[in-house]
Structures are given as structure tokens and as C-alpha cells.
Symmetry: D2
Subunit: 273 residues, 4 copies
């Protein structure tokens, strides 16, 4: 038994990734998206696959002070010696509730579509969607990919992702089911729970024919870039201490607890810190 | 005092990254490399900058069962519920010794070149290099970016990276110093300590005019993709348990410790595990 | 709305944990186990609770080159600047398959016992256990807490944990069910799948009346100590590079791939590395 | 060459830690603090060593909404499936600036005291301290272990730790130097920069004769317990989403950027989220 992986290996003189020589067959010839697919599958992607993958990673790169960005900035505040630790802390929040939801959505859509007949019509998709929504509701679980706390009238990324999916040939049966689920959820709950970016990414990954784990993979690669951007910005204009001060300053525990505590002085000291 | 970042923010209807609307000005129009630079700097990269960045991330994506890949595979063995945890575990090894060395190399080259006169000639670069090598040696520190345990005659990625750097206009004064350091180290130590991939990436990043932190950033983004590839491969053909068994099977502690231990049975049991 | 936690807060002159002044009411008066319970619940533990908690954390501290210890040692090899990164990498493997299984076991036992009548007799426990085993088997899931790849005749920690549980008054209905599950599994699968340490810890935590999350909590606190021990040992006698070499040396990929590769030289170079 | 560690190993029937059988010689006989020392050194601690270690870990367990606790709570918000990921995220901030400072302080004190004559008098300690403070200042570095943003008149943990150190016989030359450094810093900077908890822990660890790495080790073990307490509290009364909302609510980016954005509605939507 030899432990090896088809991904690659190293000799004294050469490095091979998927049996291609990195010096003579990869560097300068493949771009990073090609390399992601080469490493993971042994093949470079088709042009539409590549455009879609680019778009998915762009969609998740960053959008400001998200929990993962805040966690990364608070981590570098305590451990400035470890950039990788701050990136890791940020990625650890990419789980079943945020970002990782993309994998759950892709898996749910893939499983459900696999159960539909090849010639299933719109009514069959609607019935499937209604059954899914009811099943999740009865299990007191949230259907992955719908609803958003801020974008209550609709997630602006969804139509953009759908347009690119259409142009690339990946607006297929999984997108059809995702749309039916949005309708079914509105009927079931009596209010709009719009398809969100996680649901749209899930539909794209499923219609690309990729393993649902790719959805979380794209999210992690994309977000790692967003976190690097935050850490470069943190170096330029640190927010970590201010974020902590913001939490401390709104808490008047000491007074409530009956202690004679000079909150204003404390807040002032904190703001100068 | 408001805590905000120029990277981006979200409103009820829109998401902005560097003041561009993600739905109408980003998705479908920028690729992932554009987005990395947009998020981090507010600007998309020039064509040469983009090609160079692609090449650097390709160079670090993966090359088989490295310590970070092994750590990720052992982590998913214990915690299959958390893909992000396994990626984070792999990235945590991208420190000052592996991958993060790229940042140390870029910083060293940047600082040293900043001390050279604009019209410094080859002799001045050689003198600077010799001084650097002696300074590190006297401090019993390793010069970042030279020497390799496997590629003892030369790291195959270095000429490839240099060729692309030349084509993109980034084979400048930092590359010149890196080459001088390789020569100076050979003179100082009496043996070839070839410029390695970390040194080459450091030279590229410095000649691109980017903050040295970008070198570790490219390494983390690139390696996150390599780790996703390993986790997809681990799902297809698990190696985690085999890697652990390999460690256990070579250790006959029990017998050495004087216990009556049926190692062959143990090894057999492990292999079946 | 104020964001605060009953765990503690800080004023200019004082620090309070669960409303006790750390300087005058905690330091020097409480030991670490007291403090774990104080921070988490607001109360110090009874003597039996404390002895049991000590024993559970001792049980999980360490037992050699486990996947989490290997991951930590490979991580410090690449990132010697970050002790916390190596500990974090080791803890990330404490998931549903290793260590975290303790939480799954405690939860399963708690839920099942909650469904038994207060006067349930042995036959009722056996019926409950048999139903659980069949339910997991039909779902192609492993019952948490039974079976072990190495300790095929029985996990040596189980009787020791049971003895301490008995002495402390925590060998109750959850232990009774755990034992019944071991029997039911043997009947169902036709071979011994002994109760393992995870199952025993799960039974203890459930019989202590603690939230099942405590089981994973004890595992993480205990293992963090084991990982610190490994990192101190790694500083004294480094194994990280040897562990990597072990993986590389058993892989003759290059030859299999048809390249003219001097494996012996490579292996030799690696061993010197 | 066999890869093994004296920490422990497993056979089919037994588990050994430092050559003690875990079932018959450890479980039920050693408490967790004994086990920490046994795993790390092969010996159980003396009574004073044990009391001191307990006190150091108690000192770092928790004191409310620190950056590491906030990072852990934001991480579990996104990844509720991974308790270990949230603990890991919290520990990743235990670096050179927070908590890890304890190691830096212990190392600095150990190195400096090693350079003092065995019969050095108070004047020699003062001279050594003054030289250290000036050296750090000229290198624009902060002396580890002094100053605090909140406890500007003195860290309440310091006298308590010193009292216990005295009772345990660990208030020795490193404490003497730490105190001299506090005086020297006041003279050098013209204001009180009081010895803080990190400095006090560093002095204790150095006077205990332990490797400075133990200081960060105690911090990581202690804080892992504090983080488990926060995650149990987060399950009872979630703060993660509120912490994120707090950050979002104070940022009026959209209006400043000139967009027609209904901030109040957004804030309301967030608060309901």
C-alpha cells in the first residue's frame, strides 16, 4: 500500500501537478482558475465553466464588515505575528449558516432534481418544491438558500448570478427548482423569502454538474481573498481595537451591578487606547 | 467616530465593493483576479500585474502531500462536518518557515533595495548581498528565499517564475538582488544554496511594487485552492486514516517498552480500520 | 438593548467573573476546575462533580501521536511563530468523528433516556437500546460511542471511567443505557463493538446532568493541554520534518509515473533535511 | 529511525502516557493539573507548583467580551456545526499582543536575569531594568508586560498573583526584575505604565523555572475553558447576531456615499434579524 494522491508529487528536479510539469507545462501557461480545476479534477475548465467559477468566487469575496471580517480583524489585533491565523479565524465562520449554506443548497437541489423525471414539467417542479418547503418546515429547519435579514425585497446578487448562469449555459433544472422553491416558500409562509446568494450559488454549482462540496470550496477560496484585503486594510487603517471598544462602550455592566464605576472615564480611556 | 472600511458595505437593496455596485458593475464583468485587487486596493490590475498575480497563485496552489495537505486530511478525518476547519488547519502552517517565507523574502529585498542608490551597479548589489548574507549568518538566521531540502540543484519553479516576471516587466532590482544573494550565499557557505520559490515570489512581489504582505496573501489564497482540491480528493479516496496508520505502524514503542504487544496484529487491525 | 454576558466584565479598577472580584474573591482561592464551572455556570462544582470533571479531562488529554498531535506538529513546522496556530490546528480535528463524538454520545443518551419512564426496568432499557441500534443501522450511521479500531476487545479507559463515575454518584440511567447499547450492538452485528471512551464520557456527562455540549467542551480543554505538551516536546525533539519525510519516503510516484527519478538519493536528501 | 514521542502510545489493550497505564495508574488518581505536567514533563508537579499553575490558568480563563470571545461568538454564528472551530478562532488571537505576551515577558525576564550576577543587588536590577526599557524604546518596541489601556492605575490581578507567588515560593529574581522594570518605565516615560497580568504571569513562569513557552501554554489551556463558557452562554442567550448588528448599525456608509438608503429601516430589519 502506497499513500499517494493524483494531485501531485515532487522529485529532486521537478514538481508535477496532475502529471504536468509545473515549470514547463503550468507556470505562465495556466491562470489561477485553470489551476484550481487542474488540481481538483485533472482537467482545465471549459470557457463557460471558467467564467461561471470566476463569477461565483467574485460573488463571495467580500462585502464589508461581515462576521468573518470582524473575527479576522479582532484576531490580528491579538496576534499580529500570524496573518494566516487571522485568515483561518475568518474562514472558520464559513459554515452551515453563512457561506457553507451554498453547499447545503447545492446538495438539496441536486438530491431533489435527481428524483424528478427527465420530462418533469413545471407542475412537477412546483410539487417537488412545495414538498421540500413543507418537509423543512415540519422539521423546524430553514430551507437553505432563501430569505435574507437585510435584503428583504430580494438579494441583488441573484439576478446577476442568474444572468451569467444563463449566458454560460448553467441555468438548468436546479435553477428551475430554486425558483419554484422561492414561490413555494411564499405560499407556505405567506411572505416573500427571496432566493439569496447562497441559493443562487447552490443552483449554479448543481447546474455545473459539480459535487456540492465545490460550493463551499468556491466560498472558502473567494473569502480567503476578501480576508487578505481586510488584513491589508487593517494594516493601513486599523479597526480591531475600535471594534472592541464599540462593544465595551455600549455595556454599562458595572453601574447596573451596583459598583461605583466611572463609565465616562472608562469610555474615554478606551477611545484613547 | 464611525467604524467603516472602504472595502465595502451593504444596504437593503444593494451591495457595494469599493463603491462599485456588485450586481451591476462587478458580477459578470470582473474575474476573480480583478476582484482580489479591487477589494484590496480599489483598482483592477493592469494586464501584466494580473498575469503575474495569476502565476504566483498558480505556483503555490499545491504540489502533493505537503505538511499543510497532510494536516488538512488528518483534520477532516476527525471532523468531517467542517470543511472550513480542515482548510483552516492547512492554512495555519503557512507561516514563517513555509509559504510565509515569501513575505519575509519580499520584505528583506524591499528594505535592502531601498538602501541602494538609484544608479547602483552590479558591484553595489553584490556588496549589499554579501553584507545581508553575513548579517543573517552572524545572527544564526537563515536568509529567507534560498536553499531547499529536495531541490538541491535548483528549484524548478524559479526560472519559470523569472521568465514570466521578465515578460511582465517585473524582473527588476529586487530580482537582481535576489540573484546576487544566491551568489553571495554560495561564496559564504561554500556550497550551492539555490534561490527557491519563496525567494522568487518575494522578488516578484517586490518588483510589482506591492506591500510584502501581499506575498503571504497570494500564498494563502493559492493554497486555499490546493486544500480544497485535497479535500475533494479525500472524499473520493480517503488517505487520512492511512496517514495515521503509517505513523503508528512504524512505531514499536510497546515492544521497546517491554510490553508483550502483538505488533503485527495491531498493524493488521489498523490497516483494516 | 445592551450586549453583555453574565460571564464577566472589566472596570478601570476591577475585573469581575460571574460577579466575583477576580483579585479578591477568585485568584488564590479557586483552582482551575472551579473556575471552569464558575465561568460557565456561575457556580463552583460539588466535590464529586469536580472529581468527575477532572477525570474526564485527564482521559482526553493525550495518548501519543494522534491525528490532532500530528497536525499540530506539522503546523508548527511551517509556522514556528504561532504556538496558538498549532494548538488551533490540533483542536480543529476534535469533531464528530474524534472527541466531538463525546457530545453526540451524550446527546443520544440524554434524548433516549428522556423518553423512558421513571420506573423503566432492564427490559425497557434493552428495548430502547435495540431500537436505537437498528435506527442508526437503517440510516447507515454509526452509533456514537461504540467500537474501536485498535481496542477491539475493549477500550481500557471505559472500566476506569465507570469506576470513578460510580464513586462520584454519576453511574446512573445513562450509563445503564450505554451498557445496554453495547449488548444490543453485539446482538445486531454479531460481533463485539465495545463501548469506547467517547461513549463512556458521553454517559458520564449525561449522568452529571450537564448539557451534552460540555462533553465536547471537556474534550477541547483537555486536548489543548495535550497539544501544549506536544509542542513543548516538539521544541525539545522535533518530529515534524520526520513525519513529513515518512510520508514522502514511502511514495515512489515518480518512478511509477515513468520518470527517471533517483528515489534513494531523494530519500537520503530528505532524511538529512 | 523510529518516530515516537515519550508522551505516550497505544497498544491493543492499553494506553500509556509517560509510561503510566492510563487505566490503572492515571484515571481516578491524577487530577487535570497533574496530568498537564505529567504529559508535558513526565512528572506530576509539587504542591506549590500545582497551586501556582492553577492560579495562572484561573487568571487567564476569561473576563467577558474580549476580542477572542467576540471572535468565537461571531464564528459560531456562521458555523454552528463546529464548536471546535469557534474555540480555535478564539485561541488564534492569543498571540504576541494578547495572552502570548506572557511568553514574551517570561522570555525577556529569563534572558535578562541570566545575565545578572548571582549576588546582584537592587542597584544592579535597576540598571538592568533601565537598560531594557531604553533598548525597547530605541527599537520602538513595547516592553512586554507593562501598561494597560483600561487599568491605567494598576492591573488588579498583579498584586493577587504576586501574593500567591510569594506563598508558593515563586516570588524570586524574575519578579524582582519585573518590579524594577515598572519603576524604570515610569522614569523613562514620565508616567505610570503599571505591570500588567501578562508581566506578572511571565514573572511567575520564569520564577517557576519553566520554559517561557509554558506561559503561552497556560494561557491557551485557560482560555480554551473561557471560550467553552462563552459558547455555552451563546447557546443559552445568543449574542453573535447582536454583535454584528452593533457594528452595522453605527455605520451610515450608504448615506455618506450619496445613495438614497433607508438606514432606519435597515437598522430595524437588522435588529429583528
Amino acid at each position: 500500500m502506497t499513500i499517494k494522491t493524483p494531485i501531485g508529487y515532487t522529485t529532486r528536479d521537478d514538481i508535477f501537478v496532475r502529471d504536468r510539469n509545473i515549470a514547463t507545462e503550468i507556470l505562465g501557461q495556466l491562470d489561477f482558475i485553470d489551476m484550481i480545476f487542474l488540481a481538483a479534477t485533472g482537467q482545465t475548465p471549459s470557457a463557460p465553466m471558467k467564467r461561471m467559477a470566476n463569477t461565483l468566487m467574485v460573488a463571495v469575496t467580500d462585502h464589508g464588515l461581515t462576521p468573518s471580517a470582524i473575527a479576522a480583524r479582532l484576531t490580528i489585533l491579538g496576534a499580529p505575528e500570524s496573518i494566516q491565523g487571522a485568515v483561518a479565524a475568518g474562514l472558520l465562520g464559513a459554515g452551515n449558516h453563512f457561506l457553507g449554506t451554498m453547499q447545503l443548497s447545492a446538495q438539496m437541489l441536486k438530491d431533489a432534481v435527481a428524483g424528478l423525471a427527465p420530462d418533469a414539467d413545471g407542475a412537477a417542479f412546483d410539487a417537488c418544491a412545495a414538498a421540500l418547503v413543507r418537509e423543512y418546515r415540519s422539521g423546524k429547519r430553514i430551507v437553505p438558500g432563501i430569505g435574507h435579514p437585510i435584503h428583504i425585497k430580494g438579494d441583488p446578487r441573484v439576478p446577476a448570478l442568474r444572468r451569467v448562469a444563463g449566458e454560460c449555459g448553467f441555468e438548468g433544472r436546479h435553477w428551475q427548482l430554486a425558483t419554484a422553491i422561492e414561490r413555494a416558500a411564499q405560499a407556505e409562509y405567506g411572505k416573500l423569502l427571496p432566493l439569496n446568494a447562497a441559493g443562487a450559488v447552490g443552483a449554479c454549482v448543481a447546474d455545473m454538474g459539480l459535487d456540492p462540496l465545490w460550493a463551499r470550496g468556491f466560498a472558502l477560496i473567494g473569502r480567503s481573498a476578501g480576508l487578505v484585503a481586510h488584513l491589508l486594510d487593517e494594516k493601513r487603517a486599523p479597526l480591531g481595537q475600535k471594534l472592541w471598544d464599540l462593544v465595551l462602550a455600549q455595556d454599562d455592566s458595572a453601574e447596573l451591578a451596583g459598583h461605583d464605576n466611572p463609565i465616562p472615564q472608562r469610555a474615554a480611556a478606551l477611545r484613547k487606547a
